[in-house]
């Protein structure tokens, strides 16, 4: 009996070990998926503390922005297990919540004492909730962001340029505070020769394939009064999307594109606008706050040479929302590990370090710190922007809604087809059809 027992025991132990080992290995490892950009490097640094505290090894899957949505949404749709944690775009939250791709975090937050009131309200609303504005949380705000502007402060401070600007416009040269001023300033610089080189007014987003031109054009549309609906939640878009203000906003964006962008910037997004600015071609440029720490440190155009400003207002003050929340992927094999990371990331000390490393924390302890405004040259603008952000549709059908906007805006702004009114009327028509298909109209 004893002789039989030994091999049986051995076989059972071997079987037990062989089944336990993979899960042990998984428990000690987490894969976090995000876009490949400057803040991702900061997160790698930050996460070393998590590994030191828990022993969990962090793996990162960073996808370049132009392919980020395609790659990650394919992963979610196919039920893949690549990501345990995902810092996904704010627009994905509706679809990911309704399709069961993200874990609902309410119970976990309650259990661990994580309060959403500890984070900036606009960020929670944008990055965590679905349906919008309801206390149903699918993510923890991870990276606050908005579209903003930067300019060549050294050029703006040259006495001869200031005098010329004053003579031409009758006002002092300074960072624009309205869209009219932005256009005027861009036109002033466009074609001017500075330091022996021809420069251009502004580098803006015109990219067609993913989301570029929509993120750029809405930066003009929102301040001019563009709204998605007349009554929130009713999908009544006629008169809001194509309002008089919205038409003026789209015309202003096209005017800026036509008058003042460097040659060849017909399909430009984050990388191209940064290139235009860093190579000394553009007096002003738009981009996400996420890139500002890198720009401020840039050897050629950073330091004293660069200034930042929040999106100029017009009829109202508004900025296009960027940024993301961090979610637990429902398909993960390491749910406990993923939730542990969220719990760790939500701590005020970790959030403070996140900001110091170049990530945009939106924890109130960070934002309300008296030293915050002076911690970076763009920190005060970030606070202003985060209080006036507006986001694109976050509906489950956001991808189709976005494609329609990309086509309509690019056709009008870059390809010069039709009028702004026709573009926005067309957008109402496209979006109405989409919401009818969705059963929401």
């Amino acid at each position: 009996m004893k002789t039989m027992c030994r091999p049986l025991l051995g076989a059972t132990m071997a079987l037990g070990l062989s089944t336990a080992l993979p899960s042990l290995a998984q428990a000690d490892e987490l894969t976090l998926c995000w876009a490949a950009w400057d803040p991702a490097n900061a997160l790698v640094e930050l996460s070393k503390d998590f590994t030191a505290q828990t022993g969990t090894q962090m793996k990162f899957e960073f996808v370049p922005w132009p392919n980020f949505a395609d790659r990650i949404l394919n992963e979610l749709n196919s039920g893949g297990k690549l990501c345990d944690l995902l810092i996904g775009d704010s627009q994905w939250i509706g679809g990911s919540a309704e399709n069961g791709y993200y874990v609902k975090l309410n119970d976990f937050f309650d259990k661990e004492g994580i309060k959403m009131s500890d984070f900036a309200e606009a960020a929670v609303n944008a990055y965590s909730t679905w349906p919008k504005g309801t206390p149903n949380y699918w993510a923890l705000p991870a990276m606050g962001d908005a579209n903003a502007w930067f300019y060549r402060k050294d050029w703006f401070s040259k006495p001869e340029i200031q005098a010329e600007f004053k003579a031409a416009t009758g006002r002092d040269l300074a960072a624009p505070t309205t869209w009219d001023e932005l256009l005027e300033t861009a036109k002033f610089f466009n074609g001017k020769e500075i330091d022996g080189k021809k420069v251009y007014g502004a580098a803006i987003f015109t990219e067609r394939a993913s989301e570029g031109i929509t993120m750029g054009a809405t930066q003009a549309l929102y301040p001019y009064g563009f709204k998605y609906e007349n009554t929130p939640g009713k999908y009544d878009m006629d008169g809001a999307v194509n309002s008089e203000g919205a038409i003026k906003g789209l015309e202003a964006y096209k005017e800026l594109y036509k008058c003042c962008t460097p040659p060849g910037y017909t399909d430009a997004y984050m990388g191209e606008t940064l290139d235009a600015f860093k190579s000394g071609q553009a007096a002003m440029a738009m981009n996400w706050f996420a890139f500002f720490p890198g720009l401020a440190k840039d050897e050629n155009v950073g330091g004293d040479k660069i200034g930042f400003f929040v999106n100029p207002k017009e009829a109202t003050a508004a900025s296009t929302l960027g940024g993301q929340g961090i979610s637990v992927v429902a398909n993960t094999d390491n749910m406990d590990g993923a939730l542990a990371y969220i719990k760790w990331f939500a701590q005020p000390d970790v959030q403070k370090k996140w900001w110091q490393l170049g990530g945009y924390a939106v924890h109130n302890d960070v934002l309300n710190d008296p030293s915050f405004k002076d911690s970076q040259p763009f920190a005060a603008d970030f606070l202003v922007a985060m209080n006036q952000v507006q986001d694109f549709w976050q509906e489950p059908a956001y991808a189709i809604l976005l494609q329609s906007a990309q086509k309509r805006f690019h056709d009008y702004v870059v390809a010069d087809q039709g009028t702004a009114k026709e573009a926005l009327d067309g957008l109402v028509k496209d979006w109405t059809e989409i919401f009818e298909d969705e059963g929401k109209l």
Binding site: D70, L73, N74, L76, N77, G79, G95, N99, G100, R208, A209, P262, P263, G264, Y265, T266, D267, P396, A399, I400, Q403, K407, H410, D411, Y412, V414, A415, D416, Q417
Partner: protein
Amino acid sequence: MINSDTTILEKEPERAAASTPVSLARRIGGLSDRAIAWLFITPTIALLLAINIFPLIWAIRLSFTNYRANRPNAVLENVGLQNYQRVLTDSDIWIAMQTTAHFVFWTILLQTLIGFSLAYLIDRKFRGHAFWTTVILIPMMLSPAVVGNFWRFLYQPQIGLFNYIVSYITGVPPSSFEMLGSVSLAPWSIIIVDTWMWTPYVMLICLAGLRSIPDYIYEAAEVDRASAWRQFWSITIPMALPFIMLAVLFRGIENFKMFDMVMLLTGGGPGSTTEVASITLKREAFESWRTGRASAFAIILFVAVFGLANIYVKALNRVKQR
């Protein structure tokens, strides 16, 4: 003598069979030769069914539903011919089809004219013709991804070599025109690149056609005092025509599905100026996630290409029979 040779040749397979030690069939559990043949080709057929036929049938099935790949849990509903109706009445899709037809027409025309001309020159066998043939073939050996990125730089209005060459010839400032950003120039920028890349391919096929014409036909024409022009139109063109038509068929099918080059160069822009059918299909399937509608569009494209190719092959056969 001839008869005896024929007899020997006819008996050769039998002899070979008799010399085979033991029939393979007997060795594999009494299976017939036909069964063994099936055994060998079944994996290939199964693979073809799995990767070609099954997806096609599945796409046909999906084209009649409201399926969306990004909503796997949604209820699948049959929508009848609604997807086909929407595709066929969508003005954007018709514009994309026109854009595709425009590309196919101009690329084939240019590639055939230039490719045949190059083949005609190479066929003269001048000194160093082998070297120049190799040089001409280089573009088609490159990856489309490399070519696309390479030409993006060449077309760059501020630093691009293409703009500088045009500027040198015409005197127009290089940054005053944008090949990829201008509505009127962007389609031509793609046609130029596709022609640059694939003309060598057409040239190769035409060269094979020219080399297949026996010399004695030209010698007979010389004896009849036919002029070079007459020889070209009465011998060269008719005898090379099946090869030219074959090249046109291959390039036509390829360019109808043109995707990589357009995506790399313009992404379908500016606006939707260069959005060919394959890009519209990709956007419908993988950006808008209307999988059912995209399947209907794919089936329509497949039927259109298949139908046109069949008509063309029949015409090609008629030319060959003449």
